[in-house]
């Protein structure tokens, strides 16, 4: 019975509206006071029932909720035969909560869209050797599953037969379909655009990458900042306090009218709802744009960031260097090139990869022997009894290989343009000098300028690379400071140093090497295309690792924080104005108080909704 009434709250409020309107018509149009009175009494009674049920339930678990205040106020009005007020107040309260529900659903819509992208069924290989549709919760690790064209991949797993193209936008932000064949890894929540595949489940449910993304966003929208916790604690004592004041007012002035007006005016409405609304709409906007903000503390910190610290390789630059200049001192260039390639094939250093990609002539017959890796220098080896030394200037010096003045000035020139050097010597004679350069990511420069415009004071690059190549990148991008030759622990120490100066630091880097810096910075952002590591270590996750999202994220957090404060101020102002008018005017009553309250709740929700549409101005 109780539930039936509560479920039909909305219908009740419309019936109540109808009764109130008819009461006014019969009173003022037909001068029939009796019918008007009866209509208002019925409206008050059906209106108060659902509110009173809620009040009773909350008192049973020892909570003085708004429902309790309203119920007492309405009963009071009823006792002093002010049926007009009791009817209007119950109607406004019910209708207000109906509007709140509608608008709140809007603010939550963005996050809902995301969670609804989660797969809910799978085709599982059963004992009868056929695939049957099962609920996603019934899929376990090591189950064999079938994915057909157009279907969502239900779990993270490996392809065991078939092939096809998968759209992985939900995980990587990249909408160009990726080819998958036997042994390829597929992710839950991605869509098979064509083909049919069978997969073995390796991670299911919340353990999948997509599951983690959803959980993160869901936790984030309900995480509470210090301000919110304070408001929560405040409102816990606030409502009982209002009740107490109402009682005191009655005891002193013996005026029921005044006492119940105090109860209604004291409802905390907008203050409690304003902040979570800004939060959920803001986080929803981020989720729609592939930006996951881990909660309100993160939003608060990120909006106040003074310094951005970047890792260079893979963050500001593409991360796969290419050979940009070559000079030969050789009398048999082709032979020496194939020597170089043969030696570099032994190594997995990024520079070695660049060289292997650069050299076309492949001579697989060359037998590389006595390979020795010199840490921080290069490689020595021998081929056909020729001794080969490949590496940097330090290695050449320690091997006592002569560098002519001509070579030296070329080396200086390469260093000044920020290239890394690879020198090749055969039988103690330098034959080739190569300059290898990493390309700056295409979208970075413009975005850096916009970060500055958003009020970031310092942009710093820290890198393990040599100072010269760091300087070149820094100069080209217009960064404020650049430090090279830094180990991961140096970067971390540098960030700590900045924090001790009272600055809020955001660190942007790759999730693997820079884990200590990511953890130390106030805000850590791992660039890593929705990988597990990036999701777990980052405070702000950029699904597609695009630099442009950094600006959107920063601008968005600033707007969210501003929006929260607007809502807090609106709520406090409304309470202040109501109390002042109650003390100074004679027109203030329960109905107007309720109207203003419900109005202010809608205002803060609609204000929060603006965040859903937030876009960074160009």
């Amino acid at each position: 019975m109780q539930r039936l009434i509560l479920r039909h709250k909305n219908e009740i409020s419309f019936v109540s509206l109808f009764l109130i309107v008819s009461a006014f018509i019969s009173h003022y149009l037909f001068n029939n006071v009796l019918i008007a009175e009866i209509a208002l009494i019925i409206a008050s009674i059906i209106g108060i029932i659902p509110i009173a049920i809620q009040a009773y339930q909350s008192l049973r678990v020892k909570v003085v909720s708004i429902d309790v205040l309203v119920t007492i106020a309405v009963i009071g009005a009823f006792l002093i035969k002010n049926f007009e007020e009791s009817a209007i107040v119950t109607f406004l309260f019910l209708f207000g909560s109906y509007l709140e529900q509608r608008t709140l659903n809007k603010t939550r819509s963005a996050i809902k869209e995301l969670t609804e992208m989660a797969p809910d069924v799978a085709y599982k290989l059963m004992a009868d050797n056929e695939f049957h549709e099962v609920d996603i919760d019934d899929v376990d690790i090591n189950d064999t599953l079938l994915v057909r064209t157009g279907a969502k991949v239900p779990v993270d797993g490996k392809v065991i037969s078939g092939n096809g193209y998968i759209n992985e936008a939900s995980i990587t932000g990249e909408s160009v379909p990726v080819k998958k064949e036997i042994n390829s890894y597929v992710y839950a929540g991605t869509i098979l655009e064509n083909g049919t595949i069978e997969i073995i489940a390796e991670k299911v449910g919340e353990d999948t990458t997509f599951g983690k993304i959803i959980e993160l966003v869901e936790e984030a929208q309900d995480s509470k900042s210090q301000t919110e916790k304070f408001i929560d604690r405040f409102s816990k004592y606030y409502t009982p306090l209002v009740l107490l004041i109402g009682i005191i007012v009655y005891l002193i002035w013996r005026d029921i009218e005044l006492a119940i007006t105090v109860l209604v005016l004291g409802c905390p409405g907008a203050l409690v709802i304003g902040v979570p609304v800004s939060n959920v709409a803001g986080i929803g906007n981020g989720a729609r744009h592939g930006i996951l903000l881990k909660g309100s503390e993160v939003i608060n910190d990120f909006s106040k960031v003074d310094v951005f610290v970047f890792d260079k390789t893979g963050t500001l630059t593409v991360g796969s260097p290419v050979v940009s200049s070559v000079k030969s001192y050789s009398n048999n260039y082709d032979k020496h090139l194939s020597y170089l390639k043969a030696v570099e094939k032994e190594s997995d250093h990024p520079l070695a990869k660049a060289i292997v990609n650069y050299i076309d002539n492949d001579n697989n017959n060359l037998k590389v022997e006595d390979t020795k890796v010199v840490k921080g220098g290069g490689i020595t080896a021998s081929i056909n009894k020729d001794r080969i030394v490949v590496g940097n200037i330090k290695l050449m010096e320690s091997e006592k290989i002569e560098i002519t003045n001509d070579m030296f000035s070329y080396i200086k020139h390469l260093e000044s343009e920020g290239s890394s050097l690879v020198i090749t010597a055969v039988n103690e004679k330098i034959v080739i000098i190569m300059g290898i350069k990493d390309q700056i990511r295409s979208d970075v420069k413009e975005e850096i300028t916009r970060l500055k415009r958003l009020g970031v004071k310092e942009l710093i690059v820290l890198s393990g690379d040599n100072q010269a190549s760091v300087d070149v990148v820094s100069k080209e991008l217009g960064l404020t400071k650049a430090y090279g030759n830094m180990l991961p622990e140096d970067k971390q120490a540098y960030i700590k140093d900045l924090q001790e100066q009272g600055l809020k630091v955001a660190f942007v880097g790759d999730g693997v090497n820079d884990a200590p810096s990511l953890a130390t910075a106030n805000i850590g952002i791992a660039m890593g295309s929705g990988t597990d590591v990036a999701i777990e270590t980052s405070d702000v996750v950029l699904i597609d690792s695009k630099f442009s999202k950094l600006n959107h994220a920063l601008g968005l957090t600033k707007s969210i924080v501003r929006n929260m404060w607007q809502n807090i101020i609106i709520a406090l102002l409304v309470v202040a104005i109501l109390i002042i008018s109650l003390l100074t005017s004679d027109w203030m009553n329960m109905s107007i108080g309720m109207l203003v309250h419900e109005g202010s709740i809608l205002v803060v929700i609609i204000n929060g909704m603006r965040l859903l549409k937030y876009k960074l101005r160009k």
């Binding site: 339930q57 909570v63 529900q101 939550r108 936790e219 929208q221 709802i273 979570p276 939060n279």
Partner: protein, 75 residues
């Protein structure tokens, strides 16, 4: 100890949270510190001792307050 996640109908008033919070915390066999009522996602997360209380009892206690429990997951 098991972990339950109960998805509720859309929660609209913050005082609902307090009610649900107090009701669930008042049950025997649940870990009081683990109770987390989430307003925006309209979910309740709680750790409970399956030898002392069943997840249906937890769902019932919320249902009795007038909030529909839509889905229950136990891990």
């Amino acid at each position: 100890m098991k972990k339950a996640t109960l998805s509720l109908e859309t929660l609209t008033c913050p005082s609902c949270l307090q009610k649900i919070n107090n009701a669930v915390k008042g049950l025997e066999g649940i870990d009081k510190d683990s109770v987390n009522v989430m307003f925006n996602s309209s979910k309740v997360k709680v750790d409970f001792d399956e030898t002392k209380i069943s997840v249906d009892d937890i769902a019932n206690s919320i249902d009795k307050l007038g909030y529909e429990v839509k889905k229950v997951q136990v891990k």
